[in-house]
Symmetry: none
Subunit: 185 residues, 4 copies
DNA sequence: AATGAATGAGTGTTCATTCAT
DNA sequence: CATGAATGAACACTCATTCAT
C-alpha cells in the first residue's frame, strides 16, 4: 500500500498545511492525520519538525542559487537585469506555494535557517540589480521591483482579472522600475 | 506600586514581544514576566490573548479610517492621490512597530479580526489610487506603491543609508508609480 | 441606588444559578455579573463561596426542624405520619428551587456542611414514619415515600399533566406507602 | 511495563474518582497520579475528559437498551412489567458504581450526552410500565417505582440491615407499586 | 517502514480569594 | 458599601519528541 513515496507525501501535505495555517499553528498530529499515519512515522523520515520545513526549501534554493550564479557571470547590463527578473518570475511561479508561505510567515522565517539563507539570496539578487553608487531612490526601485513580485503574486487576488495578465503586468512594472534605476531616471 | 498604567504597560510589552517573536510564539507567561506580574493579572485587563492584540490595533485603525474618509471626499485627482501616499507614509511611521508586526505575521493576521479589517482598509486605499478601467499594469502600479511602502519601511535595513533618506526615497518611488498610473504611462 | 438588599439579591441570584448549573460550575464572577457588582462586593457580604450556599439553607432548615420537633411531640399514629407528609410537601413546595438544587447536587452536598445537616434531618423524618421493628419492606416504604416526594417534585416534568395534579398525586402515593407500612400490609 | 490495559485502568480509576468526588471536582491530574502516568498519557487514550465519562456509559447502555427492546416486544401485561423491574434491578446492581455516580451528579449529567441518552431510556422504561390513560396517581406509582430503585440502591446505607434484604425489599415495593397501578388500585 | 504508548514542558484560561483604597 | 488590581493554584488540553517493538 505505502510505497517509498511517503517522504514526498509528507512534504506535500506539510507545504499545504504550513501555507494554509502557518508553520507554528500546524501540528505534526495534523500532518500525520492527513496522511493517515502516526506522528511517529514522520520521525522516521525527518528528524524534527523544522527538518520538514528545511527540506521544503531545498528544492527551491537550487534554482535561485543558479540564477544568482548566472547573474554574477553576466555583464551588469540592463538586458541582464531584465533577464534576471524574468527568470525570477519563473522561479516564483514554479514554487508559488512555498513563496506564499514565506510571505505570510516572515516572522517565523527570520529565526529559521532557511530564512537566513533566503535573506542572503535576496540581498545578492538586489545587488545584481542595483548600482551601489546610485541615488537612494534608484536603490529603492530595484528593491521594490523584487518586493512587488513577491507581494503581487499572492496578494493580487483581491483585484479582478486574469491571473496570467496580472503576472505579466507585475513583471512589466518590475522591469520598468529596474530600467528606470539603470538608466538613471 | 500598582497604578493605573498596567493596561498600557501590557500593550507596550505585548507589541514589543509580538513584533520580535510573532504572535503565536509569544506566550502570556512571557508578557507577564516582563511586567513582573502574574498571568492572571493580564486577564484582569484583557479578556483573551487575542483581545490584547485587538487592542493594539485600535489606535492605528482610526488614522487610517480618517485618511480613507478624507480621500473619498476629495476629487480623484493626481494631487489627491499623492497626498494620500504622503499621509499614509506618516501613519506608517507613527505606528511603525505595529506595521512591522503585521508585515511579519501576515498569516496569523489573515484569520484574526483586525486582519480582516486591515485588508478592507487596504482595498479601500488602493481603490482611491487606481482607476478600475485602467490597464492591468497601471492597477499593479498603484498596488505596488502601497506594498512598497509597507515592505520598504522595515526591510530596507539591509541597505546602508540614512533612515530618513530611505523613507523619503520610498515615498518618492511610490508617488512616481501612482503618477505613472494616473497619467497613463 | 443600591440599598440594604444586596445580601438578599446575592442569595437570589446564587440560588438561581446554583440550581441551573450546579454549585461547582457557577463562578462568583457569574453571580457578580448578574448583579452588576464586582466579585469583591460578594466578599463584603459573605466570607466564602460556601458561605453563600450555607446561607441559602438557613431559611429552609428552620421549617423542617420545626416539623421534626412537632412530629416528635406527637403520638406515633397514622394520622401524625400523614400530617408529617402533608407538611413536608408544603415545605418542599415553599423551597422548591433549593430542593431541586440538592437533588441535582447530591455529590457536592455530601461533603458540605448543609448536606450533613440535611441528611440528619431526613433520617429523623424517616424515623418518625417508620417502625424500627417492622419488616424491611415496610421500612423501604417509608423511605420511598420521602424519596418519591423529592424526586417527583422535579423530575415529573416529563409527564404531561397539571402540576398541581401531579403534586397531589405524589402526596397521595406517599401517604399510601406510609399507611401500608403503618398498618402492616 | 506498558501493557495494553492502560485504557481500562483509566476507566476504572475515573469511575472510582468520579463516584467519590463528582465529575467536575475530579481533575485529570488526579486520575493520572493514581495511575502513575502523566496527564498527557490520558490524552493518548481519550480525546477529552468528557470522553472518558462517555466511555464509562457505553458498557451500561447496552443492557438497558436491550431491556427496553425486550419490553417493547412483550405484551403489556402485569407479568411483563414485573419482569422489567426484576431485570432492571439486576442491571442496576451490575453497574452500581455508575448509577451511584449518576444519582449524585444529576446536575452535571443533565448537560452531558450520556445524561440525555439516559433520560430518554428512563422515559422509555416508564412508558413500558405505565398506562398513559390511567389516573395521575397510577402514573406516579410507576414513576416512583423506578425512582425508588435508583435512590434506594445507594441511599439505604443509613438504615441497618442486610444489603441483600434491602435490595429485595426495594424490588418488592417497586413491584407492588406497579401492580397497584396496573390493576387500578 | 512504521506503530503504540508515553513524556515533559508548555499553552491559554478560570477560579476563589485578598486587600488597600 | 463597594471597587480596582492582583495573586496563586489549578485546570483541560496540545505539542514536539522518544523509544521499544
Amino acid at each position: 500500500m505505502a510505497r517509498g513515496n511517503t517522504r514526498q507525501r509528507i512534504q506535500d501535505v506539510a507545504l499545504e498545511l504550513f501555507g494554509e495555517q502557518g508553520y507554528e499553528k500546524t501540528s505534526l498530529r495534523e500532518i500525520a492525520e492527513h496522511l493517515d499515519v502516526t506522528k511517529a512515522a514522520l520521525y522516521y523520515h525527518f528528524k524534527t519538525k523544522e527538518d520538514i520545513l528545511n527540506s521544503l526549501f531545498e528544492s527551491v534554493s537550487q534554482p535561485i542559487d543558479k540564477l544568482i550564479e548566472w547573474g554574477q557571470g553576466q555583464p551588469r547590463s540592463l538586458e541582464t537585469k531584465q533577464e534576471i527578473l524574468r527568470r525570477y518570475a519563473d522561479a516564483l511561479a514554479a514554487a508559488a506555494p512555498l513563496f506564499r508561505f514565506m510571505q505570510e510567515n516572515q516572522g517565523t522565517m527570520r529565526e529559521l535557517r532557511p530564512g537566513e539563507h533566503f535573506k542572503h539570496r535576496m540581498i545578492s539578487l538586489v545587488d545584481l540589480l542595483r548600482d551601489p553608487d546610485a541615488e537612494m531612490p534608484d536603490q529603492v526601485r530595484c528593491f521594490t521591483a523584487l518586493m512587488a513580485m513577491h507581494a503581487g503574486m499572492f496578494a493580487l487576488k483581491d483585484i479582478e482579472g486574469d491571473p496570467d495578465d496580472k503576472r505579466s503586468a507585475i513583471l512589466e512594472v518590475a522591469i520598468e522600475l529596474v530600467t528606470q534605476a539603470h538608466t538613471g531616471h
